[in-house]
Symmetry: C2
Subunit: 280 residues, 2 copies
């Protein structure tokens, strides 16, 4: 099987490595509009060749879209316009409603499989690609009923070979849930970094104090704005919904601290401790 | 050297292990008001014996206070009341202003060394104690000028043997900085857990979606209210100060998303990316 990865960054690059690692693809070609990424992906051996979008779509059995989410719907249409009924197109983006809406009426809609593998790090670009990524994680497959059974099966089989757990969801449902478990974590992390940097202008010591707790909470603030600006804006209403709830929870904490409400604080934290069951 | 650890939980238990590991203490005894902790600390081999507070203070060269922060000032006074001028008392708590104020006029104030080692995990109790804890981290020594030089030196030498970097600070300064780099991370994590749990009442899927980003941001929400309620309340004004700034930053994010302000979001995240220099 020949695969083409459009966007050879953190996600696309790691997926290219997985396809080779698990013997899924014989040949993996890459497409990227940044010349730095093109040469780096080759140097790192993420792909066998870098081609133009048109060349890659022509030769690959599987076309994988792994670019920032604002570019995925148009690339999906362009790829579907060109492929035959033997080829499959899939994406790996973090949001799905707009994409599924845009491709809904396309005559070759059945050849598209919309997926969101729940894996990532705070790094970006080809150098951030990791061997062994995705394994043991969950992948959300969206609106699977709109994909041709053979296209859907082939993509699911790939994810299963990589060792991922498959979860089926509607596009709208997936966007809401991703806002809760991924997008909000990034916003709180960015905001926490800005809070500390704001203070650090006046003080000198913060540099020395990074404890493990701080590091893990603020780690995601190293993430790329190129990835995250389009996610927040394209998933706007879900993200705003979660953000409002999160700000509310922080205000409740603030009021309890203001009132020296030890019992209230303890009860809130005991409830928050239930997150253990989600993190297992 | 004989050491007594008062509070054989995450911090005290790990410090007991470090004292043995680095050949600093020949004998380490423990004190704990929870009978479960007493038996568990012995079973785990964290300490050589469990004694009463009075017995431990009598026999130890170094008395280490590692209990929740609301109990430290009184234990400090009680220990200072009993010791000779050959003994030293130190604490490992996360806040220092109240403690240093309470012991300030004590005739044996010089025998006390106030320290805050910047290490911890989201777990608590004797079972959470770890070998190799503290090494490579920073420890803040507060108001060192108020300690007798020999007491201060002996404590600093211990931390250096464990491989910690020593940072001297005023108690007030340390409490402000700890609010920024440790206390606020815990509040955002607790609030994030509550945000997600609130939603999860209505939905079923959140369980399956925990991605690595979510896990690292929300990890601290597993922390013990017994540890954190007194920290938030005893460091009230600093914590409120940081919390206000953090809520403000989140509100700025919210407004930018509402207005589709891609440029503003990108600029804010690029600025947040500067946190890299703090996390190195």
């Amino acid at each position: 099987m020949n695969a083409a990865i459009v966007g050879v960054g953190l996600i696309g690059g790691s997926f290219a490595l997985s396809l080779k690692e698990h013997g899924i693809a014989d040949r993996v070609v890459g497409v990227d509009n940044a010349s730095d990424n093109r040469s780096r992906a080759l140097e790192l051996g993420l792909v066998d060749a870098m081609l133009s979008f048109e060349e890659a779509v022509e030769e690959a059995d599987l076309i994988v879209l792994a670019t920032p989410v604002d570019s995925i719907p148009m690339l999906a249409i362009k790829a579907l316009n060109k492929i035959s009924s033997q080829q499959t197109v899939m994406d790996m983006g973090s949001i799905k409603s707009e994409l599924c809406e845009v491709i809904e009426q396309h005559p070759k809609r059945g050849r598209f499989v919309a997926t969101h593998p729940m894996w990532g790090t705070e790094y970006s670009g080809p150098d951030a690609a990791e061997r062994g990524a995705f394994t043991g994680r969950t992948v959300i497959v969206c609106n699977g009923g709109q994909s041709d059974p053979d296209a859907l099966d082939s993509v699911i089989r790939i994810y299963e070979k990589i060792g991922m757990n498959i979860l089926h969801m509607d596009a709208e449902e997936q966007d809401l849930h991703s806002a809760y478990v991924s997008h909000i974590s990034h916003i709180t992390s960015f905001a926490l970094a800005l809070t500390v940097l704001e203070k650090e202008r006046e003080e000198d010591h913060i540099f020395d104090l990074a404890s493990s707790g701080f590091e893990s909470t603020v780690r995601l603030a190293k993430s790329s704005p190129k990835t995250w600006t389009p996610i927040f804006l394209r998933n706007k209403y879900n993200v705003l919904d979660v953000l409002r709830e999160h700000i509310h929870q922080l205000q409740v904490f603030r009021r309890m601290i203001e009132r020296d409400d030890a019992e209230g604080l303890t009860a809130a934290m005991e409830h928050a401790n239930l997150i253990r069951k989600i993190l297992k």
